[in-house]
């Protein structure tokens, strides 16, 4: 196998420039001494400082809040670290914020753990930290605690990020997929599969034009608008990340023991995503999203939900895609070209491109 000990040869598969005199993460940055403090002070705090983080205590001391809490955690291992429409930093913040938002919580605080690979350029780390800070500002979440580890070269893929997010649950809280009922209406907040295709096209250097853009972004505003507009009509929300929309529909079908039925022609898919999927034999319904959610609302509330979502640019192409039915032979069905209703399969592992 090839090995490469030259830090300057870092391949990030992204349009990033590394200065000629670049500094790099070393194992000493993770060993708790002077270099560790330098890394925290000059890089992390320089980007992410706030009143909680500056204390540098072993645990963040946080104020009391009124309502019950929501807690979520996630790890981010995307390759490449930069992709059209985002990077691992913004992904980590938006991913955690979206998990809180679709759970009915107002995001408050976040912990951030960085696992860095020896040799990782500090200039690139700074860019990612800036992206984290920007996404945190945009979503009004504060990074209140963190951790940094450095692993030897070859042990990680540049940078891994782990987050934990805390939010305050706000009424009305979506009751969840177990409460789905027959005739409930299913909605998608925007074009599907954009993140999965953007990452794939960048990682594999497919050379596509126009370049597919990830939907990496916040769902916070959309969820707030839905809550204030038709909050009592919403049964459940879910950001359709790994496994795509198909995986969400299967999870909900399992939780509710009902059949979820969608219309292929109503599912929004951008021309770029559709083109790549046709070319490689992939199904957009199986591709990952990072700023697109599936919503189930009570019967008759679908039109209002779509109108609300269409009022902001992030979800301007929201569509009603199907309804909930009593349990048939299969958990999720899709109506395609000839109007025949067919099963929609649960994705099996990562989608693999076909031969011809």
């Amino acid at each position: 196998m090839s090995s490469n000990n030259n830090p300057a040869s870092w391949q990030l598969n992204c349009p990033v420039s590394i200065p000629a005199n670049a500094e790099y993460v070393t194992l000493a940055h993770g060993e708790g001494g002077r270099l560790s403090r330098k890394l925290i002070q000059e890089h992390i705090l320089a980007s992410l400082n706030n009143e909680y983080l500056i204390a540098l205590n072993d645990a963040a001391q946080l104020p009391k809040i009124e309502g019950p809490l929501a807690l979520t955690t996630d790890s981010f291992v995307v390759s490449p670290l930069f992709f059209p429409g985002g990077d691992i930093g913004s992904l980590a913040i938006f991913g955690t914020v979206n998990d809180l938002a679709v759970s009915g919580a107002k995001p408050l605080w976040l912990t951030l753990s960085l696992i860095l690979e020896e040799g990782f350029p500090l200039a690139i780390l700074d860019r990612i930290l800036e992206s984290i800070a920007r996404a945190a500002r945009e979503t009004c979440i504060k990074i209140v605690a963190g951790d940094t580890k450095v692993v030897p070269r070859g042990v990680a893929d540049g940078l891994f990020i782990n987050t934990a997010g805390v939010g305050e649950l706000i009424t009305p809280i979506p009751p969840g997929p177990a409460t789905l009922q027959v005739d409930d209406e299913l909605i998608i907040s925007g074009p599907i599969g954009r993140h999965g295709i953007a990452v794939l096209a960048t990682r594999e250097e497919l050379g596509l034009e126009p370049l597919p853009l990830s939907d990496c972004g916040s769902l916070l505003q959309s969820v707030e608008l839905l809550r204030s507009g038709i909050g009592n009509q919403v049964r459940c929300l879910r950001d359709a990340t790994r496994g795509g929309v198909a995986a969400v529909l299967h999870e909900w079908a399992e939780a509710s023991e009902l059949t979820l039925s969608i219309e292929e022609r109503n599912v929004p898919v951008s021309p770029e995503v559709r083109g790549v999927c046709e070319l490689l034999g992939l199904d957009p319904l199986h591709m990952a999203n990072e700023g697109t959610m599936v919503i189930a609302v009570k019967p008759g509330a679908g039109t209002a939900a779509v109108e609300i979502l269409k009022s902001i640019p992030e979800t301007a192409t929201a569509q009603q895609i199907g309804i909930v039915k009593s349990r048939g032979i299969v958990p999720v069905t899709i109506r395609r070209t000839l109007d025949s209703e067919q099963p929609l399969d649960d994705p099996l592992g990562s989608p693999l491109p076909r031969i011809c």
């Binding site: 196998m1 090839s2 034999g281 032979i329 000839l338 025949s340 693999l352 076909r354 031969i355 011809c356």
Partner: protein
């Protein structure tokens, strides 16, 4: 989408379906040769719609499904070696060999790299001269020109760290072997449009004359397929056997001459073991002697691998149209995409995968 939605229009599809039903006076059995056509027929519900009118049986046209198990075993073995990276198309990775798939091998330390074109594997070899890259060259005449080009690129760069496991297969010998079998039920063929794009369709003239079976070159979209089926049924009802090209927007009679020349320059026809079928005379392509420095079999001294025969998998019966996937006793029970007994359940073009994916549990 331009040039796609036009071939998926539900109203036109319904008109074609009605026309097929209107002119059909008896039960006809058609074989779609290509696995991509199988998936499209099931995905768009055409096979179900034609139930009782035209029976569609699924041919051997999935190159991943018919790749010899020994080739997969060899690929797994090479990928386990420290100095070798095996480059492969994605859909080869889940296909079971005698002792697991390439994905299984990867989980236990094998070096496997998914590539999107054979040239990508050449580029990898250029960038990492200390590593041996072996490309798993699988596919029909459709992919053979691209792998031939990769060989020429590797030769131009004088790469000594690039080779291929050549497992290319040829469609027409397989069709011949099918129609000559005593159990043959095929009354007409939907020929694989992609293969004909490269190879043309002139060579089917003698096939049609010899066996007196209609052959209709057909595309992959719902309207392409319905149009091809209608053309077959018209011939059968008129007791005719002709060669027709119903995929004229892509396929020319002579095909793509420069692609054919490239294949001719690099490969020669050989007998090839097809998974489930046994050896098909002239059923494959191998490197010509002057290019054999790129043959991984020779470079790495392929060892004799005892092949574990999976008797349970009825892929031969499926790929020759003797049974439909749901008729296999293991379909959906012991054999699923998560735990396949054979290749047709995991390949993205496999007939069993299509039935499983699109939930056809009865026999259309």
């Amino acid at each position: 989408m331009k040039y796609l939605d036009e071939y998926r229009d539900p109203k036109t599809a319904q008109l074609l379906l009605d026309e097929i039903r209107r002119i059909t006076t008896r039960h006809w059995t058609l074989m779609e040769v290509c696995g991509g056509q199988t998936h499209s027929l099931l995905r768009h519900g055409i096979a179900v719609e034609l139930e009782g009118t035209v029976e569609l049986i699924h041919g051997p046209g999935c190159p991943v499904c018919v790749t010899d198990q020994a080739a997969i075993d060899f690929a797994c073995q090479l990928a386990q070696r420290e100095e070798i990276v095996l480059a492969s198309f994605g859909d080869m990775l889940r296909v079971p060999g005698s002792h697991g798939s390439l994905l299984d091998a990867q989980a236990t330390g094998a070096h496997i790299q998914i590539v999107y074109s054979p040239s990508d594997a050449v580029e990898l070899a250029r960038k990492q001269p200390e590593t041996q890259f072996v490309f798993f060259a699988v596919g029909f005449e459709t992919t053979a020109p691209a792998t031939a080009l990769a060989i020429k690129q590797a030769a131009r760069y004088r790469l000594e760290n690039f080779s291929m496991i050549v497992s290319h297969v040829r469609v027409q010998p397989a069709m011949e072997s099918l129609v000559q079998a005593p159990e043959n039920r095929v009354q007409a063929f939907l020929a694989a449009g992609h293969v004909c794009t490269v190879m043309g369709y002139e060579s089917y003239e003698s096939f049609v004359n010899r066996y007196q079976l209609p052959v209709v070159v057909t595309g992959f979209e719902p309207l392409d397929l319905l149009d091809g089926i209608l053309a077959c049924v018209k011939q059968l009802e008129a007791n005719e056997a002709m060669l027709e090209n119903r995929y004229a927007r892509t396929v020319q009679a002579a095909g793509n001459r420069s692609a054919q020349d490239l294949v001719q320059e690099i490969y020669q026809v050989c007998d090839r073991a097809w998974r489930g079928f046994g050896t098909i005379p002239k059923g494959g392509l191998e490197l010509r002697p002057e290019w054999q420095q790129f043959d991984a079999l020779l470079r790495f001294n392929k060892p004799a691998i005892p092949v574990f025969k999976r008797d349970e998998c009825q892929s031969f019966e499926v790929m020759t149209g003797q049974i439909k996937p749901p008729e296999c006793p293991h379909f959906g029970t012991r054999c699923t995409p998560e735990s396949p007994l054979g290749a047709p359940m995991v390949s993205s073009e496999g007939a069993c995968a299509a039935y499983y994916r699109y939930g056809v549990t009865t026999t259309p």
